[in-house]
């Protein structure tokens, strides 16, 4: 049972118009090597569900996104992603803007094979007015409360990046936060995991058992992707590359600088990307 594949093989599984969920949170543990592989394909018209960071910015800049389901897009240490801002301000993408908790509830409903989950979040806000398809549900019990019915966010494909995985697809996070990667995995028909290191199954036991976030039953493919979250963080393997993120932001803000960023970092394969990043870091040091 060997599920190892390459990032390009994962990207080749995507089809125009698919709904894909992307794990991580903001500029933290994003499956960036898989995102970079998608940028090298012709796939388009994706609906993307994400606690958004530079994954959203890069896909938007490349014209891959038709619709984004999101609660925020941020680079954390830099508040706004310039590409996402431009995509919104030019009307290039459609959005379903939810409260952060509604995104979680929508994924959770999909995981549980429920049509919706009730919650308070969203009521009274413009989440309701900007998403006129949202419906409420009235409690059948004595309280009679009218709650928001957050529809299931079912995904065709989920992409997540974890610290360790084995070739069977068991996958492990070693940092402080699992984010929503397990929900993304189970809300999707197929989940592809990139990992800092693909190790023997026995090596997964060197950390506490509760770090084993995904079992192989939820995972279709495994990609060995060292520094695969760069420039987002993948604690404890590495932190966010703040200098590189600032470079990304500076180039993304400047339409004249962006093509050279693409040319240098994104037009080659992942090996080229990582070696150019090393050169960038050495030049900055």
């Amino acid at each position: 049972m060997d599920k190892r594949m390459t990032a390009d093989e994962v990207a080749a599984e995507l089809r125009d118009g698919m709904t894909i969920g992307i794990g991580g949170w903001g500029s933290r543990r994003k499956p960036m090597a898989l995102i970079r592989a998608i940028l090298r394909t012709d796939v388009k018209d994706l609906t993307v569900v994400s606690y958004g960071g530079p994954d959203v910015g890069l896909l938007a800049a490349a014209g891959k996104i038709r619709k984004l389901v999101f609660g925020f897009v941020t680079l954390d240490s830099v508040p706004f992603d310039p590409h996402f801002a431009r995509a919104r301000q030019s009307g290039a993408i459609d959005v379903t803007e939810y409260d952060e908790g509604m995104v979680a509830a929508g994924l959770s409903a999909a995981v549980k094979r429920l049509p919706f989950l009730p919650m308070r979040a969203g009521l009274g806000s413009d989440v309701v007015t900007t998403n006129p398809d949202l419906r409420t549900v009235t409690s059948p019990y004595a309280d009679g409360e009218e709650l928001l019915a957050v529809p299931a966010l079912r995904l065709d494909v989920a992409l997540v990046h974890l610290n360790r995985a084995d070739a069977r697809g068991n996958a492990q996070y070693l940092g402080p936060d699992p984010y929503f990667d397990d929900d993304f995995a189970l809300a999707a028909d197929r989940c592809f995991v990139s990992a800092e290191r693909v190790v023997d199954t026995a090596d997964l036991s060197s950390a506490p058992a509760q770090s084993l976030l995904l079992n192989r039953g939820a995972v279709t493919g495994v990609v060995a992707a060292p520094h695969g979250a760069h420039f987002t963080s993948a604690a404890p393997d590495y932190g966010r590359d703040e200098a590189f993120q600032r470079h990304y932001v500076a180039c993304a803000k400047d339409p004249e600088a962006w093509p050279s960023f693409v040319d240098r970092f994104l037009s080659g394969d992942e090996t080229t990307y990582q070696s150019e990043v090393t050169r960038f870091q050495e030049a900055a040091a």
């Binding site: 409260d99 979680a104 308070r120 806000s125 402080p176 984010y179 929503f180």
Partner: protein
């Protein structure tokens, strides 16, 4: 008057800065809060929450901005990943969040999503983030370092945090736990303790006039009970200057 109060409040005779007044005003948000999660967004609210925990609100639980709860000594005392925040902490309601606001209106509706038409904004901001859920589930306050008509607007462009009028209109499920507590700015402290839950000027910071606040606000404010924001006492000043913010980062957010 201001000078006299200063010498009463701090024996060392130092001149208290506006930033220090704002930190104390943010600390006061958590008075008598008990053992709840305080989630201050932004620098001054974070300093305020830390000061409150070191003084009159020792029960506060504070996160490191990632997945850990840290005690006053910096020791990890809990695990609070984002999923736990959204699944449990917010809906359970034992939390007081202090959010920023790109816009806020008379009834406490807040916008951090976008400026202009939501379909194609003039300026995309963060997104609504957790503001809709926070405001209908637990106590929420706001901090803005630049009190101006651009922030204090007649109507916000995208209702992210829910105000009193919209919570009421949305019904019992939205208003049951809705509790927009206060707004702290570089000029003043405001709340919604009026019959129609519209904004009230609680206090102006020392050196700020009521008229100055009114000039920087697009809508009328109830000023019938307005007082002056209290100064830090000597121990609070020491804690701010020596323990909570020895590098004086507060002056960058609120220049004197």
């Amino acid at each position: 008057m201001t000078t006299a109060r200063r010498s009463e409040s701090s024996d060392n005779g130092d001149d208290v800065t506006r930033a220090e007044v704002a930190v104390v005003a943010c600390a006061e948000l958590f008075r008598d809060a008990g053992e709840i999660v305080a989630s201050p967004m932004g620098l001054i609210p974070s300093l305020g929450a830390k000061l409150a925990r070191l003084t009159f609100a020792p029960g506060l639980l504070l996160s490191d901005g990632e997945a850990y709860l840290l005690d006053a000594d910096g020791q990890v005392e809990g695990w609070q990943p984002f999923k736990k925040v959204l699944d449990v902490v917010v809906p359970h309601g034992t939390r007081h969040v202090v959010m920023g606001a790109n816009q806020i209106d008379r009834f406490g509706n807040q916008n951090i999503s976008a400026i202009g038409d939501h379909a194609r904004p003039d300026r995309q901001l963060l997104g609504v983030r957790g503001a809709p859920g926070n405001t209908v589930n637990h106590r929420t306050s706001y901090w803005t370092p630049k009190h101006s008509k651009r922030v204090f607007v007649d109507a916000v462009d995208v209702v992210s945090g829910v105000g009193y009028d919209n919570a009421h209109k949305a019904g019992q499920a939205a208003s049951r736990f809705h509790d927009v507590h206060r707004v702290v700015t570089n000029l003043a402290v405001l709340d919604f303790d009026t019959p129609d839950r519209s904004m009230r000027l609680v206090s102006v910071h020392p050196g700020v006039s009521v008229d100055e606040v009114l000039e920087q606000t697009s809508f009328p404010l109830d000023t019938s009970r307005t007082t002056e924001t209290r100064l830090p006492d000597a121990e609070e000043l020491r804690l701010i200057r020596e323990v909570v913010d020895p590098k004086t980062t507060r002056d960058k957010e609120v220049p004197s």
